[in-house]
Amino acid sequence: MSKKMTYIALLQLTIISISMILSGCDKHENAKASEIPQLQGKLILTGSSTVAPLANEIAKRFEAQHPGVRIDVQTGGSSRGIADSRRGTADIGMASRALKSSESDLTAHTIAMDGVGMILHQDNPIKSLTDKQILDIYTGKITHWSKLGGTDNPITVINKAEGRATLEVFLHYFKIKNENIKPSIIIGENQQAIRTVAGDPNAIGYVSIGTADYEASHGIPIRLLPINGIKATVANVRKGVFPMSRPLNLVTHGKISPLAAAFIAFASSSQINDLVEAQYFVPIAQ
């Protein structure tokens, strides 16, 4: 009899302690929300790992302005962001590409652009290259600058490491596979590509335009090439006319909560331009 009672008491204790753990975060939110009567609640963002670091920084700034709000940013890739926002398991999805025609049930809110430009050393006499010529250089069909009207030196082909966002944009634009590229050097960061090209007059590489533009205007001897006749400038990326670029999107499905709408409005405003630039992306809000 008494043993049974003890068991029941223990069981109750366990249930109570579990429910206390589970309700822990709600209490915390309520306490904060009562101080500031404006926006409150929790948002979950999932998706592209390219957008996630930027979204996390935007979320921190938004939380600082609205102490009653909690925003959890989770990753998993663009496809997951799209699936989660469609299923409703995330309030907002993140995708580092434009929506496909099969995804017309969703709404994309572009918060920044990511442009990729080809860079040469400043002393390289080549002023422009056609898409075909760039393709031939990267697939090893053209190995010397002399073939393109330049100096009689071998071309140093710089490619990005697997998993880099710029590599994906590059491969997507030229419609080739990474294994068909014959690189002289494989590097990781934009900065590393810029340093390599700046130190080698025979090198060609591709980097995020925001970074290259900044470095070129600060005396680093590199030059951005036009792609398909369009100048590789931040302005052209912002306008969406530069071909080798992609939008960084927040994706929503159906009707969204006032909190989600407020966050998207904030993320699309010029208040976050410095954060966008810090991640080497191109801001679109003026």
Binding site: I21, L22, G24, C25, H28, I44, S49, T50, A52, P53, L54, N56, E57, K60, D72, V73, Q74, T75, G76, T89, G163, G188, E189, N190, Q191, S208, T211, A278, Q279, Y280
Partner: protein, 279 residues
């Protein structure tokens, strides 16, 4: 002739041993060289800013320890009794023991990303825990259970039957035999299982990405999402341009943490062992 084969075998063995050691030393030197300049007390206690390029890893360190705590607090109380049941109280070749053992072996071979997806579906959504430290710890717990149970079971089995017979001859109860003799004698196996589990849990990325999540703020409760050190390293290395140095420094912290916890575990269990029986 045999002299020659011996010599070749010796050289080969030395070579392979040196190869293994040099890989380890290479990794450590590389980490030290690239990460030591960023390491400071500030780095350990402050929160990350600018996507992790500046600031420190304070909240991430706390989240990692909480995840590990949840993992161990759930896996040890389930794992050790299961191992005792398998080693001490089930007849050899009984279907029930065989079923448990083979399911554990299958589980031990499941890739961690599968545990991550399971944890995401079961703990995060089915049980409604969301992206949280609790979900992450429980997912890791499922992942390390096979390891823990199997190595504890091996430890128990390596205790000579003489001990059990002597205990029975002296009229000791089953419980006393287990608690005073078998368990202390099986401690080395348990430590190996525990250390392997801790290492696997701390190193895990895939299983945690979808369960404990990506949020890098200081966790307020176990229901908050919290980023682990391994996920932070992954994110800095893959998604954040200019995050390499911080990634190296974080990796150093992870390895140091691993060494400290492992040494502490084996020290504590050896002390416990000596308190029980004097060998």
């Amino acid at each position: 002739m045999t002299n020659w084969t011996n010599r070749i075998a010796t050289v080969l063995m030395w070579f392979t041993a040196l190869l293994v050691t040099s890989v380890f030393l290479w990794i450590i030197t590389d980490l030290l060289r690239q990460g030591i300049t960023h390491l400071s007390w500030e780095f350990l206690v402050t929160a990350p800013s600018d996507a992790g390029r500046s600031g420190g890893i304070g909240p991430i360190l706390i989240s990692t320890l909480l995840i590990l705590g949840v993992c161990l607090l759930t896996s040890v109380p389930i794992g050790v009794p299961t191992a005792i049941l398998l080693a001490e109280f089930s007849r050899k070749g009984h279907w029930f023991g065989r079923l448990i053992r083979s399911s554990l072996d299958v589980l031990a071979g499941v890739p961690s990303i599968v545990f991550g997806l399971f944890g995401n579906a079961f703990f995060c959504f089915y049980l409604g825990m969301g992206f949280s430290i609790l979900s992450g710890g429980l997912t890791l717990s499922c992942m390390v259970l096979p390891l823990l149970i199997r190595s504890t079971e091996e430890g128990l089995r390596s205790v000579p039957d003489d001990y059990r017979q002597a205990a029975t001859a002296l009229g000791l109860s089953d419980a006393a035999t287990l608690w005073r003799i078998i368990l202390p004698a099986a401690t080395p196996g348990l430590i190996v299982g525990l250390i392997l589990s801790i290492s696997r849990a701390l190193a895990e990325t895939a299983a945690l990405l979808f369960t404990s999540g990506y949020a890098d703020r200081m966790p307020q409760s176990l229901m908050d999402s919290g980023r682990s050190l391994s996920i932070h390293i992954y994110d800095l290395a893959m998604n954040v341009p200019g995050g390499e140095a911080q990634a190296y420094a974080t990796a150093m912290v992870l390895i140091a943490l691993l060494l400290i916890i492992n040494v502490a575990t084996s020290w504590a269990s050896t002390r416990w062992l000596h308190g029980r029986i004097s060998l």
